[in-house]
Symmetry: C2
């Protein structure tokens, strides 16, 4: 492997000194980029894109060609793990992801097993290895997975949901069943993330996209407890360096102390949380990642710069901040806004690190 | 007006002693009730139902016939005010509310004016008066409005949204325009709520449904500041009693202290906030309303009872709690679950008030 030229992200995630605040964007390889849409068209479908290592590599690197971002993140789908469990992932036109065989009862749950990352998920680890070669040490590569509860939402609902009626009915009626699913998911996610590290991932992120839809006590029991198990099972070092882990619960601002106590190195924040307050609450224990409202990128370059400056000022002087959006970048974002954002973060953050 | 037989809600909202915890449910007159669907069918459309005082009265009282709830809430739509401003509210089949003439630029904003509650919104105050007569003092009647920012979301987007791209673009590009809309909305909402009180409403609730989609600082500037102006302009007393006000920002758990400082009497909470912690944070200043996850009502009666008990225990001993869901009741709720919930709250709360 080539030596890492820019390790700012890895140092920031471990709260080590850096000369500026590193920046990357959730979903940075995505539909706001015309070149991404072109590759996707060539692939034929989103799933073909995610499942073909050469194409996943191509789109992973696209945003780095345009913007001086401080990290690459594996291009993949959040639902690869349940798909590898045999649930039959597909994308209905304009409807988002669906499963042919959702998990609804005892019999469905009994059939679940931890997939072998070296077999059913080989296309992911192959992509990780190919991306690392293509990156040639420019910036670190972040691997990722959905959280056990977030995966369970899709597995039980059979797709997306706006009220989580099916999975929450199971949670309140048959918590034992949901716990069995979450147990399998936690083991599967741990093995999956560790396989990504073995293939070359240099940092890891757990996306707890739907943990924030839970009641405060249910969040701890059904989402956080399993994230904690995943984090505890992660490989700590690879290639002679620590592999930092980031946990991001969308809508989890009220639970930061608990999330920071999972053993992760960094906590992701959405834009509803004041970064400075979050730092006072948990910044002595973890790095913080976030948290610009992605909607700011719909504004002009001057507003983007001003709002980015506010996020940096909110974190304040010192280290341990990774700049990001508070959620994935919108497909309607003008790429010029991203250029303005990355430039602003790099420039405006230097005084805070002096 | 008939004397009030059950004023438990009003006393709880003012943190006065009560023998048990009063309970009502957001959207309690709604599609989970077959009799509601029957009246709606007769009305021809949702808007006809909301705009015909006799029918609005009929559906407002329906849940009270089934369940011993401690309050009625005016049946109406959240968008009556912008409709009265001439934006042309309509409901596209299966798509939710839309406006024919959304507010997008200087010229649109210049045309906005505060509607006269006694003219364009007369059907609402007529409904309030008719409901009061029909209630004949059984329980108090709650009037309501959307918050200035929540109304602005619909007015600028032209309907619902999952990313608020249009209104947030205005917020970051042309904050001056959005402030002008919010100024009109704040005056309109104040006049509207006061007209409801004049017609007979005995408590008021401001639904800040979309304030929680804002970044923490934008929430204060664009939502909370205008809620504060509305609350400051509300009539404090009617029929010789204080008219308590409730502010509910969905997703506002991180901002409770600020919401409690608006001058309202009570703060609504969604289910992501620990009620006991909320009480420690702001319970000396305001009553708290909430906060069961509406999804609990999809479970069996025993689970409903257990989860209701947990909410009551979380608030703990003493007064100043109004039991509610953390969001509107789902149309898929079995009415038996509501019966179980109301019975559980009434029974299980007594020891906490002893």
């Amino acid at each position: 492997m080539s030596p890492l030229e820019n390790d700012t992200l890895l140092r920031a995630l471990l709260r080590e000194p850096t000369g500026y605040t590193p920046v990357w964007l959730m979903r940075q390889a995505g539909r706001y980029l015309p070149e991404y849409n072109e590759t996707r068209r060539r692939a034929g479908s989103f799933l073909a894109l995610a499942k073909t290592p050469a194409l996943a590599t191509e789109v992973t690197l696209q945003p780095l060609e345009r913007f001086p971002l401080d990290a690459a993140i594996l291009f993949s789908d959040i639902l690869t793990v349940p798909d590898a469990m045999g649930l039959g992932l597909y994308f209905a036109e304009g409807e988002g992801p669906k499963f042919e065989r959702p998990v609804r009862d005892e019999a469905d749950v009994a059939k679940l097993a931890v997939p072998d990352p070296g077999a059913e998920l080989r296309y992911v680890t192959d992509a990780v290895a190919e991306i690392r070669r293509a990156l040639a040490g420019r910036v670190p590569l972040i691997g990722f997975s959905g959280s056990p509860y977030t995966l369970a939402c899709y597995m039980v609902e059979g797709g997306g949901s706006d009220d989580f009626r099916v999975v929450k009915s199971m949670l309140y009626r048959r918590p034992d069943l949901l716990h069995r699913i979450l147990d399998v998911n936690a083991r599967a996610v741990t093995a999956y993330l560790n396989a990504q590290v073995a293939a070359g991932a240099q940092a890891l992120m757990i996306f707890d996209t739907w943990g924030g839809s839970l009641a405060h006590d249910a969040f701890r029991t059904f989402s956080l407890a399993y994230i904690e198990r995943v984090v505890a099972g992660l490989v700590r070092e690879s290639e002679g360096r620590r592999v930092p882990s980031i946990v991001f619960t969308k809508g989890g601002g009220q639970w930061l102390e608990a999330i920071a106590a999972t053993g992760c190195d960094a906590v992701g924040l959405d834009w509803t949380t004041d970064l400075g307050e979050a730092r006072r609450r948990v910044g002595a224990r973890v790095a913080l990642q976030g948290n610009l409202d992605p909607a700011v990128l719909f504004a002009d370059a001057e507003s983007v710069r001003r709002e980015a400056g506010k996020v940096l000022a909110s974190f304040g002087r010192g280290h341990g901040h990774v700049f990001n959006l508070g959620h994935g970048i919108s497909q309607f974002t003008p790429p010029e806004s991203v250029a303005a954002l990355v430039a602003a973060v790099h420039e405006l953050s230097r005084p805070w690190h002096a």
